[in-house]
């Protein structure tokens, strides 16, 4: 029997190294003669830079160099546009304004880098930063999204007519006509605020220019090492083969580390080359709060039209999206919001216009969820409002509108981040919802337990929130699979890894194809010398896109193995089996040859290689999906709230995911757990508080409350598998799923808990304080 590895709870290959401190992170890189950098960052959110005097800092003992924008000369130019608007879309306005290496004329958000000090130690560098004198002309800060678009608003970018960064309209069907038919039209305004990704490891870079070999090595906490290599080479006038970018182990990506080029990524390699000394910069937590990208700020004006029996006839959602001071990441987030605005519901008529707004705040780029949680929050809030208005059950109204199984592939029609009208490839949505209801015991709770709890004066609510997640978008990824003479397998792929378990899930794919053990497969990721084609780890695409490339390459290697073994064993290929690192003739187990022996035979030292064949048992393959695979899931929770203190306790938390073929349930569950913790943060804990001057009031973990072990509920995870039709593995992504429906779920549960109050939640994140205020407002209504 051939061993199956896909779908097994295989322990992670990388964990022994990670847990015993043997894994290399950027800050572990030590090079003789290495210098340390610290940045002078603006205290103002918006100010003109009048003058800057670095002379005292240059004199500071131990300081090697101080650079300003001026010092960069012709090498000073903004970062590249990372993502442009979809070329397929019509009627798009887009003003591209990108971050700069060091501020030249005007500061556009607090924490923007103005100068860099490079010194013998980070301590000295920070001391010398305090010696730099800057003269500012403070300007009024643009903070509020709506005020930013008023005609007399101060401008973030003086050369634009307004703070409008982009505008785009999408529709399907005819919303206005649908509205005319409706029995019920509900309008709401929904506000979603900013949070941080708060990865455990902050960003960091080490750059080492070796003048003698004319070669630049960069260690970078990036989710996209290959684009960083290519872009750095272009900026510094080097060949791509003179630059090696290594993204080693990274303590969490969550999206902000896909953003490029950060100011520091523009400055540090340049400085290392200029000084001909290795330079290290490690972001500290305070810098991370100001300089690493953030997400979620949106204001929605929504309208939903329904028939009396609860069918959605149409949805209209016009919204503002905060992009912060620059918009290098294009329209990815608002496009995701539009493509998730209808959730997994079959809505025929949709109309949506978004406006992207420049503000004097940290740049916005995707953070796990990336616009999807906003869309799901909007539709789910509207579903609850509709259920209440119609006197319908919260579950019933949802089920009535879910896309039915026979409708797949479902033409969603809205253009999403993959630049094409979206199609949902496969799904069985009702089955997922039913499983979640079953796992949490929905009916029993509502009919039997909740009435008793209410009699006892307890406020315990139940909620259920279905959601879709578009995943695994192109363009492509690749992988090279090699059988080595030892019989072990080496796999190289271009994407970086930030804790997703690639060293295990990719190894499982290979092990299944080649008949070896999972820990006989060594995976290399994120080193451009090992593999230099690809884009990166984002959009829940690693397992789908790189996973299928690994699958394709190992299938080819399998064919090569069989072909060679067939010759060696003098048996037809279809009688051969791959198991335990051997190729055997099916009915004659003693007739076998090991993969290692075959690898040697395929790469002989003498004799002739047949014309037309390649040496070795190796293959490189690529996978580029036609469009993204769309996953579906449903979360359910039972939430208790103390109505006097607003403190919460999650009694039950259930998730059911359908992300197609499950490669490794253990890793999948880890992804869900992490996602839920971020989602809970977005629901009740994590809000970045900016004041009217654009100052961040909680730029530390003392005041920015990430969800910790003490807040996490036990999560019960269920799986259903509806294979994706878009790739051979049948896989869909799941990296962001956990975070997506949580705020929507939480709001529903709170409203359900406060059964005797007319509480309506139209904002996220909440806090005990805010909940107290909402209940007071309700009381005085």
């Amino acid at each position: 029997m051939i061993k199956k590895f896909i779908g097994k709870r295989v322990m992670r290959n990388e964990d022994p190294r990670l847990l015993t401190g043997q894994a290399q992170f950027v800050d572990d890189v030590e090079i003789p003669g290495m210098l340390h950098a610290a940045f002078l960052r603006s205290d103002y959110a918006h100010a003109r830079l009048l003058s800057i005097d670095v002379s005292a800092a240059r004199q500071h003992p131990g300081v090697v160099a101080v650079f300003t924008a001026e010092d960069m000369g012709d090498d000073w130019f903004p970062g590249p546009p990372l993502v442009s608007p979809p070329p397929t879309a019509k009627d798009v306005t887009f003003h591209s304004r990108r971050q700069v290496p060091l501020v030249k004329d005007k500061v556009r958000h607090a924490g923007e880098a103005i100068a860099v000090v490079i010194a013998e130690s980070r301590y000295i560098a920070e001391d010398a930063v305090e010696d730099i004198l800057v003269e500012f002309e403070p300007l009024e800060a643009v903070v509020d999204l709506e005020k930013a678009l008023e005609v007399n608003s101060v401008l973030v970018h003086d050369d634009l007519e307004s703070n409008l960064a982009a505008q785009m309209f999408q529709q399907k069907g005819d919303y206005e006509a649908a509205r005319q038919q409706a029995d019920l039209v509900i309008q709401r305004r929904i506000v979603i605020e900013r949070g941080a990704a708060a990865a455990m490891e902050n960003r960091g870079i080490v750059a080492h220019w070796d003048a003698k070999s004319q070669h630049l090595t960069i260690w970078d906490t990036t989710q996209a090492p290959i684009p960083i290599r290519n872009g750095t080479a272009a900026r510094l006038g080097l060949s791509e083969h003179q630059v090696r970018v290594i993204a080693p182990f990274i303590g969490g990506g969550f999206g902000p580390k896909i953003m490029m080029f950060y100011a520091e990524e523009l400055v540090i390699p340049w400085a290392a080359k200029k000084l001909n000394r290795p330079v290290k910069w490690i972001e500290d937590r305070r810098e991370n709060f100001y300089a690493t990208t953030q997400e979620r700020g949106q204001v929605h004006d929504v309208e939903i039209a329904l028939s009396r029996d609860g069918h959605i006839l149409g949805l209209k959602d016009n919204f503002l999206h905060d992009t912060g001071a620059y918009d290098p990441y294009g329209l990815t987030i608002p496009l995701n919001t539009q493509s998730h605005d209808m959730g997994g519901y079959d809505i025929k008529n949709y109309s949506s216009e978004f406006k992207v707004v420049f503000t004097n705040k940290t740049i916005v780029t995707p953070v796990r969820g990336a616009g999807r949680p906003q869309g799901i929050f909007v539709i789910e809030r509207m579903m609850d409002a509709a259920a209440k208005e119609l006197g319908m059950d919260a579950v019933e109204i949802r089920k009535r509108n879910l896309i039915p199984p026979e409708a797949f592939p479902y033409e969603h029609k809205i253009i999403d981040q993959a630049f094409a009208p979206l199609i949902f490839d496969s799904g069985n949505y009702k089955a997922v919802v039913d499983k979640a209801l079953d796992m949490i015991g929905y009916d029993k709770f509502v009919k039997e337990e909740q009435p008793h709890l209410r009699v006892d004066g307890k406020y315990v609510g139940i909620a259920i929130a279905p959601f879709v997640e578009t995943t695994g978008v192109g363009p492509y990824e690749g992988a090279r699979v090699t059988v080595e003479a030892s019989g072990k397998i080496n796999v190289a792929t271009g994407i970086g890894t930030q804790g997703q378990g690639h060293f295990t899930s990719f190894a499982q794919i290979v092990a299944e194809q080649l008949g070896v053990e999972v820990n006989d497969v060594r995976i290399v990721t994120g080193d451009t010398t090992e593999f230099h084609w690809g884009t990166g780890t984002f959009a829940s695409r690693g397992a789908v896109v790189a996973g299928n490339a690994v699958h394709a390459a190992s299938s080819i290697v399998r064919k090569k193995i069989l072909k060679l073994a067939s010759k060696v064993l003098e048996a037809p290929e279809d009688e051969l089996e791959l198991e335990d690192g051997q190729v055997r003739v099916a009915d004659i187990p003693q007739k076998s040859v090991s993969l290692g022996e075959l690898a040697v035979l395929a790469n002989p030292l003498r004799g002739a290689v047949e014309p037309g064949t390649e040496p070795g048992l190796e293959s490189t393959a690529y996978f580029g999906p036609q469009y993204g695979a769309t996953a579906f899931g449903t979360h359910a929770m039972i939430l208790e709230v103390d109505p006097e203190t607003m403190m919460i306790k999650i009694r039950r938390y259930v998730t059911v995911e359908d992300c197609g073929t499950v490669l490794n349930p253990l890793i999948l569950e880890g992804q869900i757990h992490g996602g839920v913790s971020m989602g809970l943060g977005n629901a009740y804990y994590e809000k970045l508080h900016f004041d009217e001057n654009g100052q961040l009031l909680n730029a530390s973990f003392a005041d920015y409350l990430v969800v910790s072990a003490t807040e996490m509920p036990r999560i019960e995870v269920g799986h259903l598998e509806t294979r994706s039709t878009l790739n051979e593995l049948g896989a869909k992504g799941v990296g962001e799923a956990g975070a997506i429906p949580v705020p929507a779920l939480f709001a529903q549960a709170l409203e359900n808990a406060f059964h005797d109050r007319k509480l309506e939640i139209l904002e996220m994140p909440l806090s005990p304080n805010r909940l107290f205020e909402l209940l007071n407002e309700e009381k005085s209504r």
Partner: protein, 293 residues
């Protein structure tokens, strides 16, 4: 986030530490567990020229029984030692019960009793408890020592009567009288966070079951630990009925405290919580007192 340069001293005796303080006075900062000081130094909010580290002075860490039936705590006693001490559990159950609410284990393994008191954060549990339990502090300088009652020790936000040349060396906590009950209730965003509001209550019943004496101190309710004088006046000599407790809690929340607004809670929400928690704390304290006959 690296501290500004400083000169580091690691004395091994209290006397040595005191003479360093005498010499450097205002330029020096004492380093105890470092759980408050080091973050402030890394943020460069404080930039002491000289750091006097107490961690090498074993004589300052102890938990001893007091002759009065109470406790003597050396200033360098770690939170973890207090948390796990059977003597503290027996003689100061209120402190024993509270310790797990202070931060989390990593912080408690370094943070010290004396550091928490000297730091005088109005959000710190031990600051409020020392007042609720009517403790006394022994302060030393090179030339002598003085005792200060906890209720007079905290004079403002992060400010105490300690002179720059003085060291807090010991806390003395008297036993609670017989027929006493206690409670600490707090609301924190996450269990290990500083409380949005906390209430420490110690009450004593007389023979007839009336309230003989009560002390209630509120955490995060003003610049210093806020003693609920007016609320407690209402209770004295009264039977601790639900109505009496409710009325006292109401007064504590409206008249005895001066909470401020920040990003986590408005003053209004803090007053609301103070009301709720004062009621809950008094209820539990009186119930325990009744059981402690």
């Amino acid at each position: 986030m690296k501290p500004a340069p400083f000169e580091y001293h690691a004395p091994t005796t209290t006397e040595e530490a005191l003479s360093l303080l005498a010499e450097h006075g205002y330029d020096a900062k004492i380093l105890a567990g470092g759980q408050s000081l080091i973050p402030m130094m890394n943020f460069r909010l404080v930039q002491p020229a000289i750091l006097v580290d107490l961690n090498n002075i074993p004589d300052l860490a102890y938990i001893n029984p007091g002759d009065d039936g109470g406790l003597r705590l050396g200033s360098m006693t770690r939170h973890h030692q207090v948390e796990t001490s059977p003597l503290v559990a027996e003689r100061a159950p209120l402190i024993h019960e509270t310790m797990p609410k202070i931060a989390y284990p990593q912080v408690r393994s370094r943070g010290t009793f004396g550091g928490s008191i000297s730091h005088a954060d109005p959000s710190a549990e031990l600051v409020a408890l020392s007042v609720a339990l009517d403790g006394n502090f022994r302060l030393r300088n090179r030339d002598g020592e003085r005792w200060t009652p906890a209720r007079e020790f905290f004079v403002g936000l992060f400010t105490t009567v300690l002179e720059p040349n003085e060291l807090l060396v010991e806390a003395s906590l008297p036993p609670m009288p017989p027929h006493s009950g206690w409670s600490l209730k707090e609301v924190a965003r996450r269990p290990h966070d500083f409380a949005l509001i906390g209430v420490a209550a110690v009450v004593t019943l007389d023979e007839k079951g009336l309230c003989q004496q009560a002390r209630m101190v509120l955490i995060s309710a003003g610049d210093v630990p806020m003693v609920a004088h007016k609320a407690v006046e209402l209770l004295k000599g009264q039977a601790p009925t639900a109505e009496a407790i409710k009325a006292a809690a109401e007064v504590a929340a409206t008249e005895d405290i001066d909470p401020s607004s920040d990003i986590h809670a408005t003053a209004e929400f803090r007053r609301h919580l103070a009301n709720v928690l004062s009621r809950r704390a008094l209820e539990q304290a009186f119930q325990r007192a009744a059981e402690n006959k």
